[in-house]
Amino acid sequence: MNRNRSTRGRKMLAGLVCMTSSLLGVTIAVGLARPATDPGCPSESPSMWAAGSVSSREIVAALDGDRVVMVDPGVGRRKAFTAPGGPGGLLRHISTAAGFGTVYVDDRRGPDTVVIATSDHVFKIREKGEATHPSWSPSGQVAWSVGTSLRVWSPADRSVGTIPVPEAASSVFSPVFTATDEITAVVQEPVPGTNEDDSLDNLWRYDVGARAWTRVTSFEADAEHWSVIRTPVLAPDGTLRFVLIQGLSSMTDSPSYELWSYGEGAPLKIRDLPSEMYLAAATDGGLTWNMPGGSAGEWRLVFEAADGTVLDVGCGTVAVDPVVEPDPDITAEQGHPDVVTGQGLPDVSMIRRGLQEPVPQVSSAAASLAILVGDFDSSEGALAVAQAMSERLGVGVPVSVIDHSGHPIAVRPGAWAAVALIPTETDPEAELARFRTLFPEYAGSSWIVAL
């Protein structure tokens, strides 16, 4: 039997200690875990944006809807401001630097705008496409990604330069100035046999003077195993901290999350992480994380002090992407309904024009769906399972054995499968769940197929 559904995904260790409270500013527990409850995001009346509101390296800037929130994570204190760039689209990816300012991305349908708020000006730099992950240099420069290159803004002459992606790489993102003349960024590298999603990332370092990239990590991936890097941040000791996530494309489980460090020499794994979480900042007091706050797609800010004490400091995003707010670049097409009731017949002439082919008559509920168990290398193997299915499912459920010659889209050549038809008026998912309860031995080899 060909079992394609993977059960090889690594299970994550359970959280060390569950958070026992989610009240803002309340010390919760020792050890990190996904927030146990979803307290919602209380509205905060924003003050007018004040230049120079960041006076300490301990302050973390976050975005909460259309507001910029300055958080002192060690004590859980928050202050909200109206975004300095004025009303915009979807705000994401913010970075702040004491003495220089705050920068974030205003994500709109089409080109995005990078908003740089310094002590005396607000600069809006309109890009040609997506802009992501702006960050500050020690001398007040700002770097961000536009996918296939990095862009660098200079406060001296307000010029914007371009650093192309390393040769043969797919994209570059999350740049971090590891020195005034050195940027370390995440580079997506192509992996044969994979689709457009992320399969392999490595850290690369760009020498501004030499205008040259150097690969500094050597993580690997293939068509099934993936390894990606997210949210690198510069720690006060000058090292880079980042989250390494590894998984399998076929897995139906959580991937592994790990905290890593990169400074001089080889990258170093610090520890496993208990769940999905991303770095927001590394300050003298500890690490600030962005963690999913519940099923609704909310992001929480969680401060982890050096002694392991954990504090939930409320809603907000730093380097993570909002998920609840609709992506302005993926909106419904005009003229096409989001919901199709299927009650009316389509315009056959339109179908003929669009598909340039004879179109079979349209029928309501014409499809036959089935629960398939397979694949078997012999018809005898499939027949034995079909007989067992027939006995337990009862006479009212048609069960048969199929092969590729009769059902070319359901089973491959040289294989056989047992199928039980699903009545058209029933929910296929519910039928599959019921089937797997009756036949737990086939849970990993049963699928919904169209016949």
Binding site: N4, P111, D198, W226, V324, A450
Partner: protein, 170 residues
């Protein structure tokens, strides 16, 4: 295949969610056991003229397996499909902390080799070298004459012509 006809009933083409909340309500959480519970067999799946299974969520099982895959098979246009063809995939969207719609079993990539992400047009040349123009996207996309998938070519800043997803706003 004989006797095949479209199923444009509400069971064949189900409501398409919009936004993350509706996506999760419809397809469940990312990388769940449900997300790859349906399958169909595609020509030129992993490589040119190398067929294979793709997996996806049962919510779109009737639409993908019957309306789309059977359609291509029934009218003898398997040659229009070119590799790679991908379905369920527990991965992130590149460079983001967002899970791919493939991780929910809500998206299919097809003819990927000739239609990479970033390409601003559809290359309709199939595995057999014949140009089928927009036949393949027209089967997938829109309400009619397609089957209500959202085409990644319409992503406003990063077109993805290989990509068809059964959700908008995410």
């Amino acid at each position: 295949m004989t006797g095949w006809v479209h199923d444009h009933s509400s069971a064949g083409i189900r409501p398409r969610p919009n936004g993350y909340t509706q996506l999760v309500a419809t397809f469940g959480q990312r990388c769940s056991d449900r997300a790859n519970d349906a399958r169909s067999y595609w020509p030129s799946q992993s490589a040119r003229n190398v067929p294979g299974y793709i997996y996806y969520h049962p919510y779109i099982g009737r639409n993908v397996g019957y309306n789309i895959r059977s359609h291509i098979e029934a009218i003898h246009k398997n040659g229009a499909v070119d590799y790679g063809v991908y379905g369920y995939n527990c991965r992130y969207i590149s460079g983001t902390t967002k899970w791919s719609t493939h991780a929910f079993g809500a998206a299919i990539d097809t003819n990927s080799y000739r239609n990479p992400v970033g390409q601003t047009y559809w290359n309709g040349i199939g595995a057999n070298g014949i140009n089928y123009h927009r036949y393949i996207p027209n089967v997938w996309r829109g309400a009619y004459p397609g089957h209500n998938f959202y085409w990644g070519l319409n992503f406003s800043t990063n077109p993805d012509p290989m990509h068809f997803q059964y959700v908008t706003g995410y």
